[in-house]
Amino acid sequence: MTLSKILKNTFLVLMASLILTACATTKKVSMDNQMQGDVYTGTDTVEYLASGVPDRVFFATNESILTTASRDTLRKQATWLRANSEITVVLEGHADERGTREYNLALGERRANSAKDYLMTYGVSASRISVISYGKERPVDAGSNPLSWSKNRRSVTVKAN
C-alpha cells in the first residue's frame, strides 16, 4: 500500500466521520433551551413573587447545589425581601419521583435549606424564613420523562403572610 493511497483513505474516513457527527437531532436544539445538563432552565412553571423576581430555583438529580442561575434568582429574591421587610416566606423543597420516598423527603429539605442559607448570606434574617419539604409528593409536572422530572426538582419561595 502506497503512502498516497493510505493518505487518501484516511482523508475519506475522516470526512465520513465528520459528516456522521453532523447529523445531530433537531430535538436537542430545543431541549437545550429548557435544560442545561440536568438542571431545568426554562420558565414554564415559574411564577413571580414580584416583577422580575422568579419564585423558584432548580436542581440536578440527587443534588442540592445551587447553579449560577439559581444564585442569580435567589439574589433577586433577597433584594426583594430586604425591600419588603414585613414579609416572611416558606421555602418548599421538592424532589422528582425517581427515588425512594423517605430519602426524597430529606433531599427536599436539604434543597430548601440550600436556598435558605444563600438568602441569609444576602441579608435576609433566618427568623423570616421557614423550611418545609414535600419530597416527591407535590410534583408540578405529572410527566414521566427527564424534562418533567427536572421541573419537579425545585425549591419554591412562598409568601407566608
Partner: protein, 270 residues
Amino acid sequence: MNRNIIISTGFHFIIIMITTLSLPFLLKTPIDLPPIISIELIQISDKTSIPFAPKAKKIIEKIKKEEAERVVSEQAPPKKIKKEKPDAVPLPNEKIDKVKKIEEKKQNPEKIETEIKQVSEFEKKELFDPNNIAALIDKSKEDFAETSKTTNKVTQSQDRNAEPSGLSLNEEDALKAQIFGCWSIPLGLPYNENLLVRIKLQLKPDGTVVKSEILDHVRMNKPGQGFYKVLAESALRAIRLCQPLRVPTTGYERWKDLQLNFDAREMLEG
C-alpha cells in the same frame, strides 16, 4: 431543516459508495478459527450385571468385540447357560430421553466395563484354573478401587456402598422418570439446608410397596428441622402416588429391597 436532510442524505450516500469500494486498510484481518473437533456422543450401552458368564475369557473377548447387546441378570444355579434377553423395560418416551442425557453426563463409561469384569467372579467353573483366577483377582482388586472412586463422584449419599447400582441404566431411568413425575417438592423448604431423605422400600414383584422406612427418621422430630418432616412426607407421598412402581420385569431378588434417595437441593437452589 429540509436542506439539512438533503445534504445529510447526499453525504451518507457518498460514504456508502466509498465503503463499497472497499477501502483496503479497513479490511478486517481474517479470524483464525480453531479447527473443528468432531465429537461423537457415545450411547452408553445398556449392559448390566452379567449373571455368571461361563468363562471369564469369553466375556473379555466379547468386550473387545464391542457389541451393544443387553443382558438381564438373574441369579440362578451356576450351571445355567448365559441367557440373552432384550431389555423388557418399556422404552423411550421423552422424559426418559432427557433423563438419560443427564445420566450420560454423570455416568463414567468405565463404570459399566468394570461391572462386567467383576461379575466374572461368579464363574465357578474357572475356580479350578489358578492362573486365570489369579489374573481375575488382581484385576478385580483394581476394579474395586476404580469403582469406589467413580461411584463417590456420582452419588451424593455418603453411606453408599462401593458397588454400583444393580439396575441397568434404562431400568433406573424408567423408575426415576416415574418418580420425578410424582414428587411434588414442597416449595417452602429452605434451600440452603441438607435436603436429603433416604427411604428404604420393600417391594412386591408387581411394584407395589410392602414396607417403607425413612432412614433418618430421627431427624423428623429434631427441633429446628421441621422442614425435614415436611420433605420426608412429600417423598412418601410421591412413592404412594406412583404405585405400582416401574420396576424391571425380572430379577426380583435383585431389586426387592430398594432405596430411594430424595434430594430436593438441585431443584430448589435453582
